[in-house]
């Protein structure tokens, strides 16, 4: 069997180091956390930094464009043969027509292990994974530095960094894998890291519940990918990227759609796409740095990575692009709408994350991979910055997360205010901040590729985004501080519904001064927030052109030029900002802020307040029936029916035993009688039956 490997096979110890160092850090910190105590944070951050640095020397090798793919003939029993690249037969002209698609995806490849024929594992670092790997380790490093300040004093300080390191390892596994199984391994492990971190404050029932929910929904996504692997393996006999992509032409359109659909189930769960998004807002139970790293910058964008990675599949399947683009658009809109209704600062950011990922998915879904990936990059910067800033605010306000109980923080926390303002502007897409470039590219990409409906959604969502992000900004930082007033006067009846913990967490429940360790990473992120978008005009598309070769191009005939589109979007965004200003920041609005917030709280439209009833529906459709069936099995079928049958059998047997004993009356004459009856039967048989 021929085995196609993407990338130039070889030994890359730095790559392995970058991959495994966080794992080693995680294990060490987990095992020896109680010993190292406060050193845990610096150690964790340092390891992450090492991983980041280890990647840099690989830049040239990973981005070198090879005009070739490597084909290995492996023994069909395949044990370890793929690793032994020396025996490979080499070909520059692989598999005919698909060679072009494959050959452009060059990078570096490190072989690892083989399970069975078709299941061989290795690391692949090409442009796509390089971008992700750098973001993961880089932002991971920054956020760990931030966390040293944020988590100071927490009892499980070292364990927190163990989890973060583990997450980085898992995410690296996900993006560096050269096959779908390895990807799935990473996919599951990041889910696990996410589970640990969401449930970090595990004595809080809401955190426990949220972590379980996140994990289970992510497993739903996992089995989507699993099924896609079945399909691919049955079709091409391998789960390696190279093998699958080289054989795209052999797959029927229906099969392609099925594969893409199943893969997308995974994306939807991981990247919080409708209808599998419900875990993301709940995931804000985790510490804020976690939300920044995992639930904003990196993990949730794994779906984007997967689709970008599988560009050859999507390129070949029009229906899949339609499906993914549509879901992405719906998610973008739904996230934005739900963002309108939130009061918890982190939940607002969570819904905005969902919305922005919707954009990315829409982008990569319709084939605008470069735009989608750029939006991932810029979003990683500005959303991480937003979260970290929110963290600073929360930290300073003794873990208060309800923006109704904030207000007027502009003067009290100037750094936070400016940082937040910058982030909000970026996410709204105000030129020339990073969000402007990427979002614009995505929105226009849909139009370019012939999806006007998605375009419309994109534009509308941009406006809504501007509104609710500025609402967040205005309510939090403008006006007067409301932290001291009675929550009920703001209409807050059930604090837990607002996202605020009933029993706020732990031992660091007091106002903290903002440490330099928390400010510095935010400052670094600001650079990206401001400047990352410029990559779009600095050769971004060319950089990725080899990776996304064969992507559907624009139809040409577009009724709106790019500049016109930009102006339109900017106008809509400005309208959104204006409405927000009028409602929340205009002097008149500020005067009656408390009353306004109360009314808004009480009169919140029910569908929004209940997040479009997704939770209710999932509960009623899946959870409740499963529990009912389980109860049926565990309390009725097992003890009564199945076991009952056995019990009846034993009862009948015992009864038969008593019956047999009842003939044993102790009366010798009765015994004689049974003897004679037996003899009579014998005699009757022998007299009449035995001989005819």
């Amino acid at each position: 069997m021929e085995h196609v490997v993407l990338g130039i096979d070889g030994g890359y110890p730095l790559l392995v180091l970058a991959w495994l160092a966080p794992l080693a850090g995680a294990i060490a910190l987990w095992a020896f956390g109680p010993r190292v105590r406060s050193l845990g944070g610096p150690i964790g951050a340092a390891i992450c930094g090492v991983a980041f640095l280890a990647l840099l020397p690989l830049w040239n090798a990973a981005t070198a464009i090879g005009s070739h793919a490597y084909l290995f003939s492996t023994h069909s029993n395949g044990i370890g043969a793929a690793g032994a690249s020396a025996v490979a037969s080499y070909s520059t002209n692989a598999s005919g027509a698909n060679a072009a698609a494959v050959s452009t995806l060059a990078g570096i490849h490190q072989s690892l292990v083989s399970w069975a024929p078709g299941f061989t594992f290795g690391l692949l670092l090409d442009r796509l994974s390089l971008v992700w790997a750098l973001v993961i380790t880089g932002i991971g490093f920054l956020i760990q530095v931030y966390s040293i300040g944020y988590m100071t004093g927490d009892r499980a300080f070292a364990r927190f960094f163990a989890y973060l390191n583990f997450f980085v390892f898992a995410m690296m596994t996900l993006v560096l894998s050269d096959n779908f199984v390895g990807l799935l391994v990473g996919w599951g492990l990041v889910g696990l890291a996410s589970y640990f971190l969401i449930g970090f404050y595990f004595d809080r029932p809401s955190a426990v519940k949220a972590s379980r929910k996140a994990f289970v929904i992510n497993v739903v996504g996992d089995i989507g990918i699993l099924f896609a692997i079945f399909l691919m393996f049955a079709a091409v006999g391998s789960a390696g990227y190279g093998d699958v992509f080289a054989n795209v032409a052999k797959l029927s359109p229906g099969m392609l759609f099925a594969i893409c659909g199943c893969l997308f189930i995974g994306c939807a769960a991981k990247s919080a796409q409708v209808p599998l998004h419900t875990w993301l807002p709940d995931a804000m139970e985790g510490p804020t740095p976690v939300s920044a790293l995992i639930h904003a910058a990196t993990m949730v964008t794994a779906g984007v990575y997967l689709i970008a990675r599988c560009a050859p599949l999507w390129n070949a399947s029009e229906e899949s692009r339609m499906l993914v683009g549509t879901i992405g658009g719906i998610t973008a809109l739904a996230g934005a709408l739900l963002g309108l209704a939130q009061w918890d600062i982190k939940r607002i950011l969570a819904y905005s994350t969902m919305s922005q990922i919707g954009y990315m998915i829409m982008g990569v879904g319709v084939g605008a991979y470069d735009a989608g990936v750029l939006h991932f990059l810029t979003h990683a910067f500005f959303k991480a910055q937003l979260f970290l800033t929110a963290g600073i605010v929360i930290h300073a306000l003794a873990d208060q997360q309800d923006i109704r109980l904030m207000g007027g923080l502009r003067t009290r926390q100037p750094f936070a205010f400016w940082s937040m303002t910058l982030g909000v502007l970026a996410i709204c897409g105000i030129a020339p901040l990073s969000g402007f470039w990427s979002k614009d590219a995505v929105i226009y990409g849909t139009l370019e590729r012939g999806y006007p409906a998605l375009y419309a959604i994109g534009v509308l969502t941009a406006g809504i985004t501007a509104f609710y992000m500025f609402r967040l900004l205005f309510v939090t930082f403008f006006g007067t501080y409301r932290g001291a007033i009675d929550p009920s006067s703001l209409g807050i009846r059930h604090p837990e519904l607002s996202g605020q913990a009933v029993e706020p967490a732990h031992d660091h429940h007091e106002a903290h001064p903002t440490s330099i360790l928390m400010i510095a990473p935010v400052a670094v992120l600001m650079i990206g927030t401001i400047g990352a978008g410029l990559l779009w005009i600095a050769g971004w598309r060319d950089f990725f052109a080899p990776a996304f070769a064969g992507a559907p191009e624009g139809h040409g005939a577009v009724f709106l030029p790019e500049l016109g589109s930009t102006i339109l979007v900017t106008a809509v965004v400005l309208v959104g900002i204006a409405i927000a200003y009028v409602r929340y920041a205009a002097p008149a609005a500020l005067r009656e802020a408390i009353e306004r917030l109360r009314v808004e709280t009480v009169r919140m439209p029910a569908p929004l307040a209940h997040a479009f009833y997704f939770d209710v529906a999932i509960d009623a459709l899946f959870v409740k029936p499963a529990q009912a069936l389980g109860r049926l099995a565990g309390t009725v079928l097992d003890p009564l029916v199945l076991d009952g049958a056995v019990r009846e059998t034993s009862i009948v047997t015992a009864w038969l035993g008593h019956l047999a004993r009842s003939f044993q009356t102790g009366l010798v004459r009765a015994y004689a009688l049974t003897l004679v009856v037996g003899a009579a039967c014998f005699v009757a048989y022998y007299a009449f039956g035995a001989v005819r």
């Binding site: 037996g678 005699v683 022998y686």
Partner: protein, 478 residues
């Protein structure tokens, strides 16, 4: 003029030498007792002599192993087959005597020991009997000895069991005798070997049927089993142990010879089918009735009913190999059954009366070796490894399947399944967590049962696992 010497040659005498040893040994026991002073350890001496006698008989029996020889004008046949049964009988007698160190009060022991020896000789006669009078006399010799032995206890149950055994067994003897008369009438001969040559006639079939009724009674096959539980429970433990094996061994020998040698091939299968059926019923009913028993002797009686069903099932189809497996299983049964009796004797407060289930409670913690030995015997009875019971059952199953009696094999499995509860009830009692404070420890003074337990345990395992083929050891028929 008849030369009477030609009817009692040296060969004849040598061939029945084990029986002569046994019979005369009983007389020696009695006479030595006469010569003893009053205070002497009469119990020990009697048992010692009996043991020597039985061992001598057993050793002598081994010399007879070889091709079949017919002696006493065809009354008796000595062959490997008869030797196998005889050895089982002798071993069983030896072990039984060891169980409770003599039967009855100490001044009765010489007499009862003599009776045991005579009963043994009756079974030895049955093992080699080749004509109807010899069968009948051997059977009666055994039975008469057992009637008496059953009554040697002050417990009213023992007396009752003797009376019941007497009445029912005599009645069964009557049936058997009448069957013998009809067989004689149908063939004009009393020699088993001559029957097969006769033309099949209804009279023969009916005679065979009545004969088999007697056989089934002695084997205690359902529905001819009803005497078994009562007699086993009532009789002194050693007697129960003795009769549980010796009666079965002797009767099986007779049955096997009858089934294999004397039936005209044309009708053999039809004549024997009822026996297989009652064997099948025995396997099931015996185990069913044992389910709720708490008295060990009674439980083992029911278990014996089922076990003998298994043994008879081995003979189904009257294949030559089946015969060997039946002998093998009988040998295995001897050890596992007597082992269980021996443990019961050791556990019991009154070794003669036997023990009930509560006496076994917590045995694993009080006397672990005894408990494990008992577990071994019970596993063997249940047909589980690593015991002879397991191997024996496999052989029987294979033989039944081979002979085309798969339904018997199936019922055997059914019966065994039921029996698991019976045997594991005891295992459970021994190993369960109990409050040991409530249990009064009873230790019997005599080391003899311990010897029996050890011998039986070793034999049970070795017979099951020793890598020999029963076919290589057990002889051909006749």
């Amino acid at each position: 003029m008849i030369d009477y010497r030609s009817f009692v040659t040296q060969a004849d005498t040598l061939a029945i030498l084990p029986i002569i040893i046994t019979v005369l040994g009983a007389l020696v026991v009695l006479f030595v007792d006469l010569l003893m002073p009053k205070k002497a350890a009469r119990r020990t001496i009697a048992l010692g002599i009996a043991a020597v006698v039985l061992v001598c008989a057993s050793l002598d029996e081994r010399t007879l192993y070889g091709p079949a020889q017919s002696i006493f004008a065809g009354s008796f046949v000595v062959s490997g087959f008869s030797v196998a049964f005889s050895e089982i009988v002798l071993v069983a007698a030896l072990l039984s005597l060891a169980l409770s160190a003599g039967i009855g009060k100490s001044d009765q022991v010489p007499g009862t020991t003599a009776l045991v020896l005579w009963g043994t000789s009756g079974a030895l006669l049955m093992a080699g009997a080749a004509n109807l009078p010899t069968i009948f006399l051997g059977l009666e010799l055994l039975s008469l000895a057992l009637y008496c032995l059953c009554a040697f206890s002050d417990r009213p149950q023992a007396r009752e069991s003797a009376l019941k055994y007497l009445i029912l067994s005599s009645m069964a003897s009557g049936f058997m005798l009448y069957g013998m008369a009809l067989l004689f009438g149908a063939t004009g001969s009393v020699a088993l070997a001559a029957f097969a040559l006769a033309a099949p006639s209804p009279l023969f079939v009916l005679g065979a049927g009545l004969f088999l009724v007697g056989i089934a009674f002695k084997l205690s096959l359902v529905p001819f089993h009803s005497w078994t539980p009562d007699v086993y429970e009532g009789a002194p433990l050693a007697v129960t142990a003795f009769m549980s094996v010796v009666t079965k061994a002797g009767t099986l020998a007779v049955f096997a010879r009858f089934a294999y040698v004397s039936l005209p091939p044309a009708i053999a299968e039809r004549i024997l089918i009822p026996v297989w059926i009652v064997a099948a019923i025995s396997m099931v009913v015996g185990n069913l009735a044992a389910l709720a028993q708490t008295d060990m002797k009674r439980l083992l009686a029911y278990s014996g009913i089922a076990q003998v069903g298994y043994i008879v099932a081995a003979l189904a189809g009257a294949t030559e190999s089946g015969m060997r497996y039946a002998i093998f299983y009988l040998g295995a049964y001897t050890f596992m059954n007597l082992g269980a009796f021996a443990v019961t004797a050791l556990v019991a407060r009154d070794a003669e009366a036997g023990a009930r289930l509560p006496a076994f409670a917590g045995l694993a913690r009080r006397r672990p070796l005894l408990a494990w030995a008992m577990t071994l015997f019970l596993l063997a009875l249940a047909g589980l490894p690593p015991t002879a019971g397991f191997t024996g059952k496999i052989l029987i199953l294979a033989s039944a399947v081979n002979a085309g009696y798969a339904w018997l094999a199936g019922l055997l499995i059914l019966g065994t399944a039921i029996s698991l509860y019976v045997y594991f009830k005891i295992v459970r009692a021994m190993f369960a967590q109990v409050d040991l404070a409530h249990i009064r420890e009873e230790r019997s003074g005599s080391p003899l049962p311990w010897i029996a337990v050890t011998l039986c345990a070793v034999a049970t395992v070795v017979l099951g696992l020793y890598p020999f083929a029963p076919s290589a050891v057990l002889p051909a028929l006749h």
